[in-house]
Symmetry: C2
């Protein structure tokens, strides 16, 4: 068993570039860290290679054995776990009936949390605007708890997508901090798209103008807004119960 | 107007100790950063001093003018805002009718999010177990969006508190990933305590044993659990709508 111990190893140097978005975009590959995420990647047939400082691994994919020092070079955490997976990016799938549109989500933790909740509450497809944070950012992947592999996620111009969905009779829901209908009165249609907006600014007004109606979550007056991951999850929970 | 430019200034050195939990505990003071949080602290009468590199501030409290370099020494962010507030810790208040108990929450972002949602959905008192993350951690304060100042929050032995609440006829709800009653069937009593648990392990079984009933959020089978900030917020939303 060959163990790579040199930080200058060509293959390791190539893989370490995947810590940077530009190279993830070029190669359509990304890294995940730790047993749980590597396992989820394997089950979803996204895993193409495993890098480990353990003596053996149980995945039927190309395996590269390295020293812990070399492994650290591929890690984005302070105390790396002992296995890193190289994964291929998600393939595009047809847009489903229950769609979540995200307009300019910036915080990777929020995007990861939203992905986790979207799977929990039966969303078929997430569509990201071009200015959302990179889906393959390590913090997004960690916060999603691996559920990134179980959700269909694509990136589009949201205006174009909304026009196309409207032609196919999807009901388009915007969200505002106030105004619109309270979510508990909602009767959920068979085909819908829910739009959630940026942490600071909410959904852009040019997009809100395209919506059939706006939803809001009733809260105490002294609270201006909820965390966007929380707000999205509450609405998805309510929509699931109403279906 | 005197402007402190020396990083060795005695007062600044004392204040910079507040970045460490031990000194926050000793002094019962903590720091907040940026206009929004300082404003919230002032409104809640928690603000005792403002440190700024601006020429003037509008708060009627002791103000210390410093250079940007000195201000950075008191900041826990990479690009500090231009005003920092020194605040006194919260005073204890009587426990209200709607109580949220947090058992071992570790992530400061989760605690901040939960505080924000607890105010939004009308919780009167949050009770932290002794092993929860420090309430005055800068990430907790930021994630709470200043709503920390609007919520009564205390730290207690949870077993003792639960026994005491039971004597006063509070209904005690535990939470589990599966089992118990689904939250949408809940009819919310006048006095209750909801217990949410640690990110990895949930509520300790010794505490679950003390509960009158367990609640769960129905989700798709392939999702083991939700983010604890999300789960707490969904339950509080549901309880508010049912009251």
């Amino acid at each position: 068993m060959e163990v790579i111990t040199s930080l200058d190893n060509k293959h390791i140097k190539e893989l370490s570039k995947l810590l940077v978005k530009k190279y993830r975009d070029q190669s359509s590959l990304f890294l995940v860290e730790g047993d749980h995420l590597v396992e989820e990647a394997f089950r979803s047939q996204a895993l193409v290679e495993v890098i480990t400082c353990e003596d053996e691994v149980s995945y039927q994919v190309k395996t590269t054995f390295v020293s812990y020092e070399v492994l650290k070079k591929l890690s984005s955490t302070i105390t790396p776990q002992k296995v890193i997976g190289v994964c291929k990016k998600k393939e595009e799938k047809e847009i489903g009936k229950k769609v979540l549109l995200l307009d300019g989500i910036q915080d990777p933790g929020n995007l990861g949390t939203i992905i986790r909740s979207s799977v929990a509450f039966g969303i078929d497809t997430i569509i990201l605007s071009f200015d959302c944070v990179d889906l393959y950012n390590d913090k997004v992947i960690r916060a999603s708890e691996g559920l990134l592999f179980k959700q269909a996620i694509i990136r589009r111009n949201l205006e174009d997508v909304i026009h196309s969905l409207k032609e196919k009779d999807y009901v388009i829901y915007g969200t505002k901090v106030d105004g619109g209908i309270p979510i508990y009165t909602l009767v959920c249609p068979e085909k819908f798209a829910l739009i959630m907006g940026n942490e600071g600014n909410g959904v852009r007004s040019s997009i809100l103008d395209l919506c059939d109606m706006s939803l809001y979550i009733p809260t105490n007056k002294q609270v201006e807004s909820l965390n966007v991951g929380v707000a999205t999850s509450i609405i998805l929970y309510e929509m699931r119960c109403k279906k």
